[in-house]
Amino acid sequence: MELYTDTYYIHRILEGDTACFACLLDKYSRPVYSLIYKVIRNREDAEEFTQDVFIKVFQKLSTFKGECSFSTWIYRIAYNTAISETRKKKYEYLPIEESIINNVSEEEVTDMLGQTDNHQQIQMLDKALTLLPTDERALILLYYMEEKTIEEVSTISGLTESNVKTKLFRIRKKLFVLLKGMEE
């Protein structure tokens, strides 16, 4: 059970109790680091960018008006930081042809994964994620790993809800192709 809400800590920090920021840091640092690391795939950079995210959060705390949840607001800063940093460095990804995307069904992938053990399944998914473009990786991670809703992913990424749905649908298909490709 949560002892105090995020809003309580935000008020305390804005009133000058800077030490309260540690509570927000404890709550959000690990998931934010996980997201950034899985997007950019470099531990040192991920740690540095996570630090940057929390410094930005502290600097802009007074501009948080509560239009979305505090968690969504932090993820929006983390998403923008990760995406802008990956744009500076050109990361390679595997282009997948349109015609192939619809060739693999979820059932095929489920059957294929059923023949492998848990550890191997996670390894395959992790490898498949690295072959996606970074923005697509970030979207799918927000939706599945961080368990954000379509509306929240839309707020975080700045895309429309329908655009998020379409993109997620295509990313899922791409992941199925990549996972199936690993078996072969």
Binding site: Q51, I55, I122, L141, Y144
Partner: protein
Amino acid sequence: MKKNNDILKDLFSRMPEEELPASFRVNVMQKVMIEAERIRKRNERIEWFALIIASLFFIGLAIIAFSYLNISFELKWTSISMPDLKLLPFYSLIGTTVLILLGIDHKFRQIYKKKHEKEV
């Protein structure tokens, strides 16, 4: 899009979260404290600046009022009357030059301090 009975949902839920280095919390809190101090000093400067501007405004307003109404009065120990405003442009020039030089001096000190900190 439904997450229920989704193979990817199951896979992602089993993905472990990455561990942060032990020093992360301390490092961020140190930076946050420095940032808080910087913000406090900036706010203090803004407050001082606003106070000086407001004071100058009211002093200026008083001078204009005295000048237009041609007011002069005597106190027990001294008399206050409007000074000769012919020298006002000269004093304004001197005042502005002093402020600009102070600003340049402040900037140079900042650059020197930054350089010195890097060397240390």
